[in-house]
Amino acid sequence: MSAQSDGKRWRRQLHGSLVILQKNVLLYYLKPPVLIFGVLFPVFFFLAFKMGRDVSPSGVVPGMVAMALWFTASAIGPLVTPWERRAKTWERLISTPISLRAILAGDVLSGFVFGSTVSVIPVILGLLLTDAHVTNLPLLVGGILAGALTFASLGVLLSTPPASSPSNIMLLSNLVRLPLLFVSGIFVPIDQMPAWAGWVAPLSPLSYASALIRAAYGSVPYFPVWLCFLMLLLFTTVMFAASCRFHRMYRAKGL
């Protein structure tokens, strides 16, 4: 197969991923589970954490941004495939000449775009309503983009069990996302958490995104910046590869 036809095939698959992204934007961004688990959840967690406590804005705003990113970017993946299985559109989709990998890449892109866009809101609110300020904008942008990609991959990985009901997968996704939220330095910086939490924190991708975002607001990062980016890249790669593998295994289940 020539390099030219390889290039053409790659472009076709990339185009397919973008078409999947477009479909997901039109169909899923405003679905109730996305709004509840992706947008309302972080707001309520923020209020539960902040109200009645004397916490400095510089401590709250980066956590809020990281938490919004975590919930929004990982909200799309667990919804799309189970929804399509239940609506009986999945079979038609996987019989198109778009590879399963490209379809899943489109789902990851959907979470990435949703997460990185929505997380701009707490950044702006933090700048307007508090005295928290961004000291390193490129790092903030890089942290948000890298985090969004990783969390969107996690969302797609969580969608792999062949459940017939989207609510089962949303439940599973919260069973994974909520515990990780508390050990990733969102509410309390990792160096101030108990020792056991410090051991668990490196296993959570949110810890690295949170460290990058805190560093962008002027805190000293718990992990070196390069390590954060490296680990987010690693998590993304492993989770996406696992998603492709599991989706292939469960491809025909629940049709």
């Binding site: 009986k88 079979e91 019989s95 198109t96």
Partner: protein, 318 residues
């Protein structure tokens, strides 16, 4: 990755295809070919393996053993290339209910990489042909089942396939929609499209298919043109007679040479035979000799339904 030039006319080539789900063998070592321009019917009772076969051929599930090619592309080794040549209207699949009719169409065309000008013009033409143009901007959830099925067909055809897979396309549809879909299928075939259709509607299969395969318990039990299949089940041919006032005694009719058995349904008598012509002649002679009169005399070939029942284990009488 085209295997042989000779295969070009063979659009679908299936060789020893098998699919197991745990201990259940849903499709067991089936082989057949579909040539360009055919309407190939795949008939079988519920659970016979029709949909599993279609899902393997369209890349939805992988075969356990065996191989198949579509337009020369192996469905396992060159799955994406093989899927570029096909479009599917699955039995239970649905359109995107929250998208408009038009967006559903354009989405499918974009997934197949159809250029914008072509997908717009063919989209409008197809909606017009299938009576959906006025509903272009309606959400798909507002359509009836029949209109959704028409939309599924539009969404398949807008991708410009060379082979169209239709899985029970008219199942549960109103008469108008079913008739329209059959008409469109015939027209598409006349334009050169190869069609693979699964159905358990024998009238439909006999009406539109150029060849049919009958699958039962995962195994292909017969494959030929509907006419040849009907002829093969020669014992199900019969002479149908209605007599004015009185019929000859049954034992006399049963003793006509070539009569295998006699059935009667009030005044209608059916004499099953492998030689309906000579039995009809002899029945006429018998009736005359007894001074009786025939009101109707017809020779009947078995219907495709008779053939189907014969091969799928409910032929019973044989």
């Amino acid at each position: 990755m085209i295997n042989e030039a000779a295969e070009i006319e063979t659009v679908i080539k299936v060789n020893g295809l098998t699919r197991r789900f745990g201990n259940l063998t849903a499709v067991d070592d089936i082989s057949f070919q579909v040539v360009r321009g055919e309407i190939f019917g795949f008939l079988g009772p519920n659970g016979a393996g029709k949909t599993t076969t279609v899902r393997m051929l369209t890349g939805v599930i992988e075969p356990t053993i065996g191989s198949a090619t579509i337009q020369g592309y192996d469905i396992r080794k060159a799955s994406i290339l093989s899927r570029e040549h096909i479009a599917v209207v699955p039995e239970q699949a649905n359109v995107y209910l929250d998208l408009s009719v038009w967006r559903n169409l354009m989405l499918m065309a974009e997934l197949y990489g159809i250029p914008r000008d072509r997908r717009v013009s063919s989209g409008e033409r197809l909606l017009e042909a299938l009576g959906l143009l006025k509903r272009k901007d309606s959400k798909a959830r507002e359509l009836s089942k029949g209109l959704k099925q028409r939309l599924m067909l539009c969404a398949a055809l807008v991708t410009e396939p060379e082979v169209l897979f239709l899985d029970e396309p008219t199942s549960g549809l109103d008469v108008q929609s079913a008739r329209l879909i059959r008409k469109i299928v015939r027209e598409l075939n006349a334009d050169g499209l190869t069609i693979f259709i699964t159905t358990h509607n024998m009238v439909e299969a006999g009406d539109i298919c150029s060849r049919v395969a009958i699958i039962d318990k995962g195994v292909i039990v017969a494959i030929d043109t509907p006419g040849n299949l009907r002829s093969m089940v020669r014992k199900r041919q019969y002479v149908e007679a209605v007599f004015r006032e009185h019929a000859p005694p049954q034992e006399k009719m049963e003793s006509i040479p070539g009569v295998i058995r006699l059935e009667s349904d009030q005044e209608v008598f059916r004499l099953y035979t492998e030689a309906p012509g000579s039995v009809a002649t002899l029945l006429g002679v018998l009736t005359d000799s007894l001074g009786l009169e025939l009101e109707q005399l017809n020779t009947r070939k078995p219907s495709l339904e008779d053939v189907f029942l014969y091969y799928t284990g409910d032929g019973g009488i044989e």
